[in-house]
């Protein structure tokens, strides 16, 4: 017994001394454990950073509590890095929040997409059952257009939504996956790593379309090389023309915020470790071995480090019009029955 205790104590002493000899950074995730993107990135990044990267989970409704805690508390520790999720960007447009993207400096982000899948044996045009999770609203707006077809007014979309959609709230990620596997929901949407590693393997799961990627030079949606059928392609194939109109414009605003800022690594503006964090993340992305892992696990999506992120934010800001914001607020209140706020200060005009 004494010997066993001695072994355990020695193990911890060795580890503690080893850990204290190394630098340690904490990445804060606004959700529960099991974050494939962050786990994969940290595992590769730590090799170049020459420091430990541990994850602190701060979950809460719509990912807001974690991001609010970052604004108020976590950011002041220079060893803390925040992972802002797509849901945080969505809430930035529509929810009462305390964090502000303008307040931070950015280590980097991956410009991602979303994958919309369905059950092979189901016809969503007869009815869609999909579960809500933080950041799912833009995908559901795209599914509304896919299922209802081209409509002229918001009221027409609302009528179709009320007739054909069941938007199930309250389930966590595991329960959402399971309800899809069991066929209780027939449509699902997921970030590419989750779709790739988990959901696509579920029985009856079938790729439908992806959101595509926002091209930062043109501000337009381009094909996702990992999942080449975009929403726009799928819509045109089904309805004979490209999607357009007020509803589509509002969708684009929400989709662009949600997808471009789906996984952003931020620190406090005057963080002394910022140059080191940026350079090592860039080195990790450039590293052949890590690059291969990223491609395999996270998908082939563009990375942006440093001030590029702020430039991205400026591009998205230009797309934020008063009309689009009002459409989003109207839709969220009347269709999704969610409590949102109109933020005129975000609009460029």
């Amino acid at each position: 017994m004494k010997r066993l205790l001695l072994i355990i104590m020695t193990y911890f002493l060795v580890n503690v001394s080893f850990a204290s000899a190394k630098d340690k950074f904490t990445t804060i995730a606004p959700q529960n454990p099991n974050q494939p993107w962050l786990e994969v990135v940290n595992r590769e990044w730590t090799k170049k950073l020459d420091a430990e990267l541990v994850i602190k989970y701060h979950p809460g409704a719509k990912d807001i509590p974690g991001a609010n805690a970052w604004e108020k508390e976590y950011q002041h520790d220079p060893k803390n890095i925040m992972l802002l999720h797509g849901g945080n960007a969505e809430s930035y447009l529509l929810d009462e929040i305390e964090y502000d993207y303008k307040n931070y400096a950015y280590v980097g982000l991956q410009n991602l997409s979303q994958v919309v899948g369905k059950k092979k044996d189901s016809d969503p045009e007869k009815g869609v059952k999909i579960a809500y999770s933080s950041g799912s609203n833009p995908s559901v707006m795209s599914i509304v257009m896919m299922v209802c077809g081209p409509k002229t007014t918001l009221d027409e979309y609302l009528k179709c939504y009320n007739e054909k959609f069941t938007y199930v709230t309250g389930l966590n990620n595991a329960e959402i996956a399971l309800s899809f596997a069991r066929g209780e929901t027939n449509v699902t949407r997921n970030p590419p790593p989750k779709w790739n590693l988990e959901i696509s393997q579920l029985p009856g799961a079938e790729f439908w379309y992806s959101h595509g990627i926002l091209d930062l030079k043109t501000g337009k949606i381009v094909k996702d090389p990992n999942y080449p059928v975009t929403f726009e392609d799928a819509f045109e194939k089904r309805w004979g023309k490209k999607p357009s109109g007020d509803f589509y414009d509002a969708y684009l605003l929400l989709r662009n915020h949600r997808d471009v800022f789906q996984r952003v690594l931020a620190v406090k503006k005057d963080n002394p470790h910022l140059p080191k964090l940026r350079s090592t993340l860039q080195a990790t992305i450039n590293d052949a071995e890590s690059g291969k892992v990223f491609k395999e696990k996270l998908g082939d999506y563009p990375w942006h480090t440093g001030d590029e992120v702020m430039k991205l934010f400026e591009i998205l800001k230009k797309q934020t019009t008063d009309k689009n914001l009002k459409t989003l607020v109207w839709w969220h209140e009347n269709a999704f029955k969610q409590k949102v706020v109109y933020k005129p200060q975000l609009a460029k005009n």
Binding site: N15, P36, E184
Partner: protein, 490 residues
């Protein structure tokens, strides 16, 4: 096998020791032990299979460690061993701690072995089984669990229902799910916004009345322990004698663990209730007063639940229980993506998982056998010292949430509730089950309504839900007609 043993023995021993230690600490348990592993995760990246051995060892040893805390300290080390307290602690006070621990250990180990083996055998059939359980079945399963607790072993079923509803209401205090900034029943007290922690509720309602009575001198001190080894052997014999109680517990825990979404914390209570209603002629000690069957039944459920919770986690990457979320994340960190076809086709993974599970079980049992001798000495400390000590440990454990006065106030409130419920002979376990299941009832009930509001009686058309419904009705009829062998109150 020898090759695996040589390669992973050090990590196995470290994992078992580390997990066991966390299991013994009342405030900790398997979940906390796994969370504390994250900073060390990168050391396992050289050999990801070592993380499989480590996590399995931690889960098994912490679960068994939980039982020690329940029996000796009257504080559940984890939610899965809370029912063990009901008869385990009275046995300890009677000087039979070694017998209780040995019987519980045997029961847990036997069921763990059976269900660990079944896990390997049933893996290919699991997908078909789990798909029989949709939202209607999950909801009915929750209702079945609550029915068992309120009706089966409880003499005053109306008070049981009242306690259950009260527990559900308390469990719903805090933030409204998915609605930012909206809170329920906080009465303007900010502390309640994040909900109420489980430990002060469990300790306040179930353990504190007993301890405080001990401090005030109303409880008899533990009888002098005689012949520890003989007691331990008696525990083994008890386990064999009451093997069907253990097996029944194993079945209950195994089913609950295999159904993703139900989570732990109810299996042990259901197993306890089902054990208590099965009257035997040789039951000399009433349940709740230190009947060894009250330890064997729930401990049968405790580890079998952990074994089968691996089903959905390994096959789908969908955690079967809260601790599995952490296992999933830790294994993902070292590059093992549970649920992915590549891993499912990886025979090495399953070999290491099976080895880790069985070897960890064996090592934990050996350690536990030797540790029992030391653990029971705690109960021999004079009651003037022992009960105040227990009081301090419980108060300390329950006030780790914020460390402020609010923690003390909340513990005080639940102590008062515990005393009142005890005085009124209300089912305190029903209250705790309501508290634990409140969020699940809201979530699964809500999802059921959203999915099936156009056909609310769909459960009448599904064979599995119909079977569950008939079982519930039969349980209620049985409980109302047959009055024998019921516990007056918990």
């Amino acid at each position: 096998m020898i090759e695996l043993l040589t390669q992973y023995l050090p990590i196995l021993l470290i994992g078992v020791g580390y997990g066991f230690l966390f299991g013994l600490i009342p405030v900790a348990g398997a979940q906390v032990a796994l969370i504390a592993l994250f900073p060390y995760a990168e050391h396992f990246m050289g050999d990801p299979y070592s993380m499989v051995v480590m996590t399995t060892a931690v889960v098994i040893s912490a679960t068994i460690g939980d039982m020690f805390s329940s029996v000796v300290l009257n504080i559940p080390g984890g939610a899965g061993s809370a029912a063990t307290m009901i008869d385990g602690f009275p046995m300890a006070k009677r000087g039979e701690a070694a017998r209780a621990l040995s019987a519980g250990l045997c029961s847990a180990a036997a069921q763990s072995l059976i269900w660990g083996f079944l896990f390997i055998v049933l893996l290919p059939y699991y997908v078909k089984i789990v798909y029989l359980f949709g939202m209607p079945e999950m909801l009915l399963f929750l209702i079945l669990a609550m029915t068992v607790i309120c009706f089966v072993s409880n003499k005053y079923w109306i008070r049981g229902i009242v306690a259950l509803v009260f527990g559900i209401c308390v469990g719903l205090i805090g933030e409204v799910p998915e609605v930012v900034g909206e809170y329920r029943w906080t009465f303007g007290w900010d502390y309640l916004k994040s909900g109420i922690e489980i430990l002060p509720v469990m300790a306040g309602v179930l353990a504190m009345p007993e301890i405080i009575e001990g401090v005030l001198g109303k409880t008899k001190a533990a009888t002098k322990i005689k012949n520890t080894w003989a007691q331990m052997w008696q525990g083994v014999k008890d386990c064999w004698k009451y093997r069907w109680d253990s097996f029944r517990g194993g079945v209950v825990g195994g089913i609950i663990g295999a159904l993703p979404g139900l989570g732990g914390g109810i299996g042990d209570y259901i197993a306890y209730s089902l054990t208590a209603i099965n009257k035997r002629k040789d039951d000399k000690v009433p349940f709740g007063k230190g009947n060894v069957r009250g330890v064997i039944g729930p401990e049968g459920a405790n580890l079998s639940h952990k074994a089968t919770a691996y089903f959905p986690t390994v096959l789908f990457g969908i955690p079967g229980a809260p601790f599995e979320i952490l296992v999933l994340a830790l294994l993902a960190y070292v590059g093992l993506d549970l649920g992915s076809p590549r891993l499912l086709a990886n025979q090495d993974f399953f070999t290491v998982l099976s080895f880790g599970y069985m070897a960890a079980l064996l090592v934990t049992v050996i350690i536990s056998i030797f540790f029992i001798r030391y653990a029971i000495k705690l109960t021999q400390i004079p009651k003037k010292i022992w009960f105040p000590f227990l009081l301090i440990v419980i108060v300390w454990s329950c006030t780790r949430h914020t460390g402020g006065w609010n923690d003390y106030i909340i513990l005080g409130i639940f102590c008062a509730i515990g005393f009142i419920m005890r005085y009124l002979k209300m089912n305190r376990v029903a209250f705790l089950i309501g508290f634990v299941l409140a969020a699940k009832i809201e979530k699964i009930g809500g999802a059921y309504w959203q999915l099936y509001h156009k056909e609310p009686f769909i459960f009448l058309t599904r064979p599995m839900s119909l079977f569950l419904l008939i079982t519930i009705i039969c349980i209620i009829i049985y409980a109302l007609r047959f009055k024998g062998n019921k516990i007056e109150y918990y």
